[in-house]
Amino acid sequence: MPAELRELVQEAQARWTSRVGLSLDGADGTACQMECEPSELPEICNWLFSDRHYSFGGLVVEQRTRWELRYAFYGSEASWVHVVTYLSDAGDRFPSISGLVHAADWHEREAEDLFGLVFEGHPRLGDFVLHNDVWQDGVTPMRKTFDGRKPVTHRAPDLNWKPRRIVEETGAFAMPVGPVHSTATAPVYFQLETVGEDVIRAQPRLFYAYRGLEKIAEGRRADDVLLIAERISGTSAFAHSLALCQGVERLCHVEVPQRAASLRVFLAELERLRHHVAAIAGVCESTGLAVAAAHAAILEEDLLRISGSLTGHRYLFGLNAFGGLSTDFDDAACGRGAAAVAQVAEKLTVLQGMLSASSSFLDRLEEVGIVSFANARDFGLVGPIARASGLSRDLRKAQPYCGYDAIKFEVPQESEGDGYARLRLLFREAEQSARIVSAITRDLPAGRFRIPETDLRQGAALGWVEAPGGAALHWIRLGEEGRVERYRIITPSFANWHGFRLAAESFAFQDFPIILATFALSVHENDR
C-alpha cells in the first residue's frame, strides 16, 4: 500500500470518525473506497480535490437496488480513492459537488439529463446530452425502466428555443457555428458570443453524435461490448478497448501474458503517435500552412498504412480481447513496423524543426488560447492539454498498467499553456511514443498472446488507460452470463471539452479554429 494512500486514510479516519466507511479494495491494496452520506459528499470531495490535490476521474452513477454514486479520484502515486454514496430509489436528490469540484460539472449535468437525478446547488442543469428543443422533460434513458431499443417520440420542436446567452453588452450577438460546419468535421455547435472581433464567450453544444453507447451496452455480452468500446472513438479505438479489457481482466483476476502486455503497449503507442501526428496536421492546416499540413498528413497516412499492413486494420479495430489480443504478430513484422515508425519519427523531427523556424506560423500559436495551471486543475483537464499547462498527469506513470512501470519513457511537460506549448507537447509525446515502439519491439517477450478463455465473473471493476487524449476510465459491471449491467465510459475529450472555453474566450475569431485545432478534441469520444 503506497505511503500516500496510508496517510490519506489516516487523515480521513481522523476527520470523519465513524461517519465515513473506509475500505481498501483491490488485490494490490492501491484503491480505497470511502462510503459516506450524501450530505458529507461535497466536503469529502473538496478535501480530496482541493486540499489533497487528487485528480477527479469521473462520476459513475448506478441504479441498483438503490442509487449508487461513485466519485473516482486518483493521486499522483498509484492510488485510487472512490467516494461512494447511496440513496434509496425513491429519492433522487443529491448535493452537487460542482461548486467546489468544478471538474464534476459536466458529470453531474450528464447524470441529471440521463438518469433524472437532481444535483441540488448545481446552477446549470438541463439541455446537455439530450437537447431541449425536442426532448421532453422526464425522459431518462439511462434508467433501467427505459427501453433503449425503441425510438423515442419527441414533442413538437420548439422553433424559438435557443441556448442561454450571458453576455450583456451593446451590440452583442451570438454567432452560430455548426453543427454542420467547415469541411469534414464532427458535429458540434458553437455559440460564440461576441460584439465582433473578439470571442467573449465560446460555449460548445455537444452530443450531436450521442449514440447512447452506455445504454445500448447494457444487456449485451461483454465481448460484443468490446466492439462498442472500439467504436467510442475510432481514432483512439485501441486505447478504449484496452481500458475495457483491463476492467474486465481486473474483475476476473486475469493476468495477461507478458507478450500480450508488450504488444498492447506497442499498439497503444502506435495509436498515440498517429493521434498526435493527426493533431499536428490539424494545427498546420488551421494556420493555413499547406505544405506542413500535407507533410503531417503524409505521416499520418504512413502510420495508418503501418497499422493496416501489420494488424489488418488501419484503426486497430478487432485486436484487443479479454485476456490478451485476438491475434498474434510475427516478431519480424513488428520489427519492420517499428522501423517504419522510426522513419516517420525522423521526418516528424524535421517537420518540427522547420515549423519552429517559421515565424509566421508561430505568431498564430504563441500566447494564443492560454489555459492557466489553476484553471487546468480546477476543470480537471487531462492528457496533453493539461500537461501543456504544467499539470503533469499521466496514468501510465500515476497508475501504471500493461507493464508501463517497467518501460523507460518521459512524460513531457510545458508550462505556458498556450497553443504553441500544446503543439510542442504533441511533438515531444510523439517522439516518446516512437521511442517506446522501437524499444518494445527490440525484445518482445515470447509466449502466449492470449489467455485462451476468460471466465467472466459477476461484479464491477474500473479499467483505465492513458488514451492519446488523456485519462480514459471505464467502469464495467457484469451480471449473469457475462452480460453487461452497467458500462460507464469516462473519456478524456469529455474533460477537455469542458475546459475548451478557457482557451477560446477573449481571443479573436480568427484564432478560434487554431485554438480548436491545438486542443485536438474528439467529438465522438465526448459524445459516446
Binding site: 422553433l159 435557443k162 450583456e168 451593446t170 451590440g171 452560430p176 457555428v177 467573449i200
Partner: protein, 712 residues
C-alpha cells in the same frame, strides 16, 4: 431679379406669420407648400445668376460711419443659394410630412416660425456684401438653429446639445468678427472696400485673417478642433430640420471660408493652404472613423457630415496651395472638386437624413442594432437609402464618385509643386483621404446592410409601416439628382466655373477638365491626331452630337509628352454597367433559366433548429474590427466589466459597458475646459449662470470690438 428675391422673402414672411393664425393641423401643409414654392423661386433667382450671370446689387441702409448694408449676388453666392434651394425644396416637403407626428405633443408653430426665419437667413447670408449685415445674419442664424435643434425640448440632452452648439457658435462668430476687423484694416466694412484694403496687408495680418476666418467659419462647417458640438446637435435636431441643417447651413460655413480666404483676401501663403489641407484631411479621417462605429443612424450621418466637410476643406486647401504657388489651372480643378463635393454632400446627405427620418418615425428607433430587414417593410426607403449610401461611399455611377475622384486626382497633381515638403504633405493627405474613402464604404455598407437587410432584430423593425409619400417623394427627387450629378460631370463643371473663376484668378476648371476639343477641331492642333482619333473611336464626342454639350469624358490635359493626365467618364461607366446587367439578365433568361429548378430554401444555418435574429451580426459587431484596429484613436474606456459567477467557475452573466471620449474631447476640449475652470474660479462672482447674459456678453464684446476698430 429683385422681385424674385422679394418674393422669396415675402413667402418666408408669410411662413413666419401665417402659422400663428391658423389651427395646428394645417401647419404641415403650410410648411410644405410655402417652403417648396419659396424654394422654387429661390432656385429661379439663383439659377438666373448662376447660369445666365444675371447680376444683382442692392444698397439697403447706410449706417453712418460704420458701413453701408448692401446685398450683392455674384456667381459664388448664386452657387450656394442654388444648392440651398435644391435642399430646401424637398426638405420643406419632407418637413411638412414629418411634422404631423408632433401634433398634440409639441406646438408646430414653434417649428415653423424659426424654420421660415432661417430660410430667409440662409438666403440672405450669401447675399450680404458687408461685414455688419453678414455678422448680424450669422448671429441670427445661430439663434434660429438653436431654436430648431432644441425643438423637442422635453429631452434634456436636446437642450444641452443646443447650448453647446450656441456657445461654440458664439466663439466662432467672435473669431469671424475679429477676422473682418483685421481685414478691414481701419477701412470700410463693405466687402468691396475690404477687398481693396486686403491687398495691402502684411504677412502676419494675412495669417491672422486666414486663421480667424478658417476656424471661425470652421465651427459651422464642422472642422476639427471646433466641431465637437456637431454630432450632438445633429442627433438632437428634429428629423424635419436636420436635412437642411446638414444640406444648407453646413455649406454656409464653407461659404464663409471661401468668401474671405478665396475672394476678399485670396490666399497667398502656401502655409495657410496647407493648414486647410491638413485640417481637412484629418477632419475627414476622424469623421469617418467615428461615423463607422456609431450605432445611431443619425449620429452616424452627423459624423459622416464632418467627414465630407473635411474632404471639401482638403480640396479647398489644395486649391489654396496651388493658387499660392502660381498654378491657377490646377487650383481651378481643386475648387471644382470642392464645390462639386459640397453640392453632392448636400444632396445625398439630405437624402440619407430623409430616409433616416422615415425609419425613425415608422420604426420608432434609429439604433442599427435594433433594425434589420427593413427592405421588406420599407422597400422604397431602402432603395433610396441605397442610392444615397452608394453616392456617399463614392461608388459610380453616382455623384460622390466624381467629386472624390477629382479630389484624389488633385492630390496627385502635387508633382507640379516645387517644394518637396509640400509634396510630402500632399502625399500624406492623399493617403489619409484614400483611407477615408475606403472606410466610408465600410461605414455605409454597415448603415445600409445592417438596417435594411438580414433579419429584423426587434419587433418594431418587423412591424414598421411603409414610408409616406411626403417622405419618399423628396428621397426620389434627391436620388435622381445623385444619379444625374453622377453621370453629367461635363455639364456640371462648366456651371461651377462661374463660382470658381473669381477665386482661381479667372482660371476655369472646364478648360482644364472638359475641353471641347472633340468637336469643332479647335484644339486638335494641340494633340496628336492618333490620340484624338482614339477618343473619337471611343465615342468621346457623343455628347456633342446626341445632346448639346461638351462630350461625356472628363479629361485633364497635360503637355504633348503626356497628353492625358487623367480621364474618366461616369456616363460611359453607367452605360457599361447597365449593359453588363442587361447581358447577365439575358444570359440568365436564355441559357440558365431554361433548365433551372428553383428551390426556395431558408438561409443555410449550419443545421441548427432555427436561425434567430440574435444570431446575426449587429451593426456594432460589424464595425467592431474598425474600433479594434484604430484603438489608439478611440481609446475606449471600460466603464463596466463584471462577471457574475456562481461558485468559482459558473458564469451567470458577463457585463461589459464601454465608454468613449471623443479624441477631440480628450485632447482639446477637456484641457481647455479644465484650464477655463481654473481661471474662472477667480471670476466666479461675475457669473450668475443665465445664458441670456452670456449671449449678451458675446454681443457686447462684438460691439465693443467693432467700435474700437472704427474709431481707433
Amino acid at each position: 431679379m429683385g422681385a424674385l428675391l422679394i418674393a422669396v422673402l415675402a413667402l418666408c414672411g408669410v411662413g413666419v406669420i401665417l402659422p400663428l393664425t391658423i389651427e395646428e393641423r394645417r401647419i404641415p401643409e403650410i410648411v410644405a407648400w410655402l417652403g417648396s414654392i419659396a424654394s422654387i423661386v429661390l432656385l429661379w433667382f439663383s439659377a438666373a445668376a448662376l447660369f445666365a450671370g444675371a447680376p444683382f446689387h442692392a444698397t439697403l441702409w447706410s449706417i453712418p460711419s460704420l458701413a453701408t448694408l448692401t446685398l450683392s449676388l455674384d456667381r459664388l453666392s448664386a452657387l450656394f443659394l442654388f444648392i440651398s434651394g435644391l435642399v430646401l425644396l424637398p426638405g420643406s416637403i419632407f418637413a411638412g410630412g414629418n411634422l404631423r407626428r408632433y401634433i398634440g405633443r409639441y406646438g408646430l408653430s414653434t417649428f415653423s416660425v424659426p424654420y421660415f426665419a432661417l430660410f430667409a437667413t440662409i438666403v440672405l447670408i450669401p447675399l450680404s456684401a458687408d461685414a455688419v449685415s453678414f455678422l448680424m445674419l450669422w448671429e441670427l442664424m445661430s439663434i434660429l438653429i438653436y431654436l430648431l435643434v432644441n425643438y423637442e425640448d422635453e429631452a434634456d440632452e436636446h437642450t444641452r446639445s443646443g447650448y453647446l452648439m450656441l456657445a461654440v457658435g458664439e466663439a466662432g462668430t467672435l473669431l469671424i468678427a475679429l477676422g473682418f476687423i483685421v481685414l478691414a484694416n481701419n477701412g470700410s466694412l463693405e466687402f468691396i472696400a475690404m477687398k481693396a484694403s486686403g491687398a495691402t496687408l502684411g504677412e502676419d495680418a494675412r495669417w491672422a485673417v486666414f486663421l480667424l476666418a478658417f476656424f471661425g467659419f470652421g465651427v459651422k462647417a464642422g472642422l476639427i478642433p471646433v466641431n465637437f458640438w456637431l454630432p450632438q446637435a445633429y442627433t438632437s435636431a428634429p428629423a424635419a430640420f436636420v436635412p437642411i441643417f446638414a444640406g444648407a447651413t453646413l455649406n454656409l460655413g464653407l461659404y464663409g471660408i471661401v468668401r474671405l480666404n478665396g475672394d476678399l483676401l485670396p490666399v497667398s501663403l502656401v502655409g495657410s493652404g496647407l493648414v486647410a489641407l491638413i485640417i481637412g484631411s484629418v477632419t475627414a479621417l476622424l469623421g469617418i472613423l467615428y461615423a463607422t462605429t456609431q450605432s445611431d443612424l443619425k449620429t452616424l450621418l452627423a459624423h459622416s457630415s464632418i467627414e465630407n466637410a473635411g474632404i471639401i476643406t482638403a480640396a479647398l486647401g489644395a486649391g489654396f496651395v496651388f493658387i499660392a504657388s502660381g498654378h491657377p489651372p490646377i487650383a481651378a480643378i481643386a475648387f471644382a472638386a470642392a464645390f462639386y463635393h459640397m453640392a453632392n454632400h448636400s444632396i445625398y446627405k439630405a437624402l440619407l437624413f430623409f430616409a433616416t427620418g422615415a425609419v425613425d418615425s415608422n420604426v420608432g428607433t434609429r439604433n442599427i442594432d435594433q433594425l434589420g430587414a427593413l427592405i421588406k417593410v420599407m422597400p422604397f426607403t431602402a432603395l433610396f437609402f441605397l442610392v444615397g449610401a452608394l453616392s456617399i461611399a463614392a461608388l459610380p455611377p453616382f455623384n460622390g464618385f466624381v467629386s472624390e475622384w477629382l479630389t484624389l486626382q488633385t492630390m496627385l497633381q502635387s508633382a507640379a509643386l516645387a517644394s518637396s515638403g509640400v509634396k510630402i504633405v500632399f502625399a500624406l493627405c492623399g493617403a489619409i483621404l484614400a483611407l477615408t474613402a475606403a472606410l466610408a464604404v465600410t461605414c455605409f455598407v454597415k448603415a445600409f446592410a445592417m438596417s435594411f437587410l438580414g433579419m429584423a432584430r426587434s419587433d418594431e423593425a418587423t412591424q414598421a409601416r411603409s414610408a409616406q409619400k411626403s417622405a419618399t417623394a423628396p428621397m426620389a427627387f434627391m436620388a435622381v439628382l445623385c444619379f444625374l450629378l453622377g453621370v453629367t460631370p461635363t455639364y456640371v463643371i462648366p456651371v461651377l466655373d462661374g463660382a470658381i473663376a473669381p477665386i482661381a484668378e479667372q482660371a476655369r476648371a472646364a478648360d482644364a477638365l472638359v475641353p471641347p476639343f472633340f468637336s469643332g477641331n479647335v484644339y486638335h492642333r494641340e494633340l496628336p491626331p492618333a490620340f484624338v482619333a482614339d477618343f473619337h473611336a471611343l465615342g468621346a464626342e457623343v455628347g456633342q452630337t446626341v445632346i448639346p454639350g461638351r462630350g461625356l469624358v472628363v479629361l485633364h490635359r497635360g503637355g504633348t509628352a503626356n497628353p492625358v493626365v487623367f480621364a474618366m467618364s461616369t456616363a460611359y461607366m453607367a452605360v457599361v454597367l447597365a449593359l453588363m446587367l442587361l447581358a447577365a439578365y439575358v444570359v440568365f433568361r436564355l441559357i440558365v433559366a431554361r433548365r433551372r429548378v428553383v428551390l426556395r430554401r431558408t438561409v443555410w444555418d449550419g443545421g441548427i433548429r432555427s436561425l434567430l435574429p440574435e444570431m446575426t451580426y449587429t451593426g456594432t459587431g460589424f464595425s467592431n474590427p474598425v474600433r479594434v484596429i484604430f484603438e489608439a484613436v478611440f481609446r475606449p474606456t471600460t466603464v463596466e466589466d463584471s462577471r457574475e459567477t456562481v461558485g468559482k467557475h459558473f458564469r451567470a452573466a458577463i457585463r461589459r459597458t464601454r465608454g468613449e471620449n471623443h479624441v477631440l474631447d480628450r485632447l482639446v476640449l477637456n484641457p481647455i475646459a479644465d484650464g477655463a475652470l481654473w481661471v474662472s474660479n477667480g471670476f466666479a462672482r461675475m457669473h450668475h449662470g443665465f445664458l441670456n447674459a452670456y449671449v449678451l456678453y458675446g454681443l457686447g464684446a462684438l460691439l465693443v470690438a467693432l467700435l474700437i476698430a472704427r474709431f481707433s
